[in-house]
């Protein structure tokens, strides 16, 4: 359902991404791995319409959406859980969730909110608190819940487990898996490779702005050594 081919993105003179290709399929979890600064975030943002790619193409649901503005991409059913949460800090928890449902059909909002409160009871408890007061992990839950509110067909997630306690990582990842099982496509960047691999179907490794390896999760698990080596090397030279 998502087909990204040979994406190139730059920040002024800095070529952050040059040659990332990714695919995501309905009902499957695609895991993107890569070192710090490899260009994962940049790729995701470009796909979701926050950044205009210099070259390459993004096809979603049979249509070319390369360079389409973010708010239109959302309406087509693709949503991004951004890196660093990007919660609306002065708004309340509930208002944040409502915002998530902005593009969703009217009737579904109340129901969606209730569902999210059920998954994350802590959010229900603090529903009228300003989101800025939540702890880091609570905010991460809110970001995840907010994205769910739009009832996406495809969800892009930039490190959804960041800052979450192990129990919560389990809960989030298993609900991600459950979503995929209902037919939603997932494209997920995850530093916690082990946890990510547990729920992933396919894996892509990005290094220095390029896709360098793709395969199934099983292949990746088997060739763990390869992936590790790749990540390790990247980590060593620090960029």
């Amino acid at each position: 359902m998502l087909e990204v081919t040979d994406l190139h993105v730059s920040y002024g003179p800095v070529r952050a991404v040059h040659g990332v290709s990714l695919t995501a399929t309905a009902g499957q979890v695609t895991l993107v791995l890569g070192a710090n600064g490899a260009g994962k975030t940049t790729s995701l943002r470009a796909i979701a319409g926050f950044h205009k790619p210099d070259a390459g193409s993004v096809w979603f649901d049979g249509r070319d959406i390369t360079g389409m503005a973010a708010h239109r991409v959302v309406r087509r059913g693709m949503v991004l859980v951004p890196e660093g949460r990007k919660i609306f800090l002065p708004l309340t928890v509930e208002e944040n969730l409502r915002m998530g449902g902005y593009a969703a059909p009217k009737g579904s909002v109340e129901k969606g909110i209730e569902e999210i409160y059920q998954t994350f009871p802590i959010l229900a408890e603090r529903r009228h608190a300003q989101a800025g007061l939540l702890s880091g992990g609570e905010q991460q839950m809110l970001a995840f819940g907010r994205a769910l509110m739009s009832r996406p067909k495809l969800m892009l997630m930039d490190e959804p487990s960041m800052g979450l306690a192990p129990a919560m990582v389990e809960r989030v990842l298993s609900s991600v898996r459950a979503m995929a099982d209902t037919g939603i496509g997932i494209l997920m960047v995850e530093q916690n490779a082990e946890a990510g691999l547990r729920i992933a179907d396919t894996v892509a490794v990005v290094s220095r702005g390029e896709t360098v390896w793709t395969g199934t999760a099983d292949e990746a698990r088997d060739s763990k050594a390869i992936v590790h080596a790749m990540l390790g090397e990247a980590a060593l030279d620090g960029v």
């Binding site: 070192a35 600064g37 660093g84 007061l133 306690a165 129990a167 389990e170 530093q191 980590a235 620090g238």
Partner: protein, 252 residues
């Protein structure tokens, strides 16, 4: 090791019955603990259990509702937050807080700016050295908003250690890094500890905590639920349930 010293050596930092309440929210609720020089302490606990708040209270940025803080046996509960850094307590933040229109190098130097001249001369590290160790040498002149998230965290880390604090408080220093990178940072923490920097780390990566820390605290809803050797703490049933979610994972 920590417990062997109890009773003889004064704790580097001690807390007595510390509580931080926000209206009805009891973020930290009666914590008593001690930390001794030369160790790495870790804190684990579910989201919202009060770890960051505790860190904030230790640096006095977050006012505490009750309790006492002692550094070298001296009460600093009433010392204003701005003086805490000078006393040798340095911290990082859970969300990256860097100056966006200053270079990486400048951001790191900020860690020295308000220290007494003498400290700067005698104990501080060289900025180039710090950048090298943390792995941001290559990007010294760039601005933080030109860096990826993981790199920004490293800059934050570098700023906290450049003044060679006696006690280093780290709030999820490796969030957003992969396993290999975490190992790197873990190694660096160990080195720093050997150089005499006592550390207090909030982290969710249990594996890394067990590997790196000498002593572990576990928190839940504002209270300590376990402490001791990392292995033991992780195996503690209360921790297993509240934090690692063995029960929760099963029914998910």
């Amino acid at each position: 090791m920590a417990e062997s010293a109890v009773g003889r050596q004064t704790a580097l930092l001690a807390m007595e019955d510390v509580a931080v309440h926000f209206g009805g929210v009891k973020a930290v609720d009666g914590i008593t603990l001690e930390m001794y020089e030369g160790n790495i302490y870790g804190v684990i606990g579910p989201n919202g259990s009060g770890k960051s708040t505790l860190l904030g209270a230790m640096t006095r940025l977050t006012p505490s509702t009750r309790g006492r803080f002692l550094l070298d046996g001296k009460d600093y509960t009433r010392v204003p937050a701005r003086n805490v850094h000078r006393m040798g307590i340095s911290r990082t933040f859970q969300t990256v807080r860097l100056l966006d229109d200053r270079s990486v190098r400048d951001n790191i130097l900020l860690g020295l700016d308000a220290l007494p001249k003498q400290t700067r001369k005698e104990t501080a590290m060289q900025v180039d050295e710090v950048m090298e160790r943390v792995g941001v040498r290559e990007v010294a002149q760039l601005r933080p908003d030109e860096l990826s998230y993981g790199m920004q965290r490293r800059v934050e880390f570098a700023r906290a250690i450049i003044g060679r604090p006696r006690l280093l408080l780290l709030d999820e220093p490796t969030a957003g890094m992969n396993t290999a990178e975490r190992k790197e940072i873990g190694k660096l923490m160990r080195q720093l500890c050997d150089e005499g920097i006592t550390q207090f780390i909030v982290e969710h990566d249990v594996e890394m905590m067990v590997e790196t820390c000498d002593y572990l605290f576990a928190m839940n809803v504002g209270k300590l639920i376990a402490e001791g050797e990392p292995q033991d703490v992780v195996r503690h049933p209360a921790v297993q349930e509240a934090y690692l979610g063995k029960g929760a994972a099963a029914d998910a």
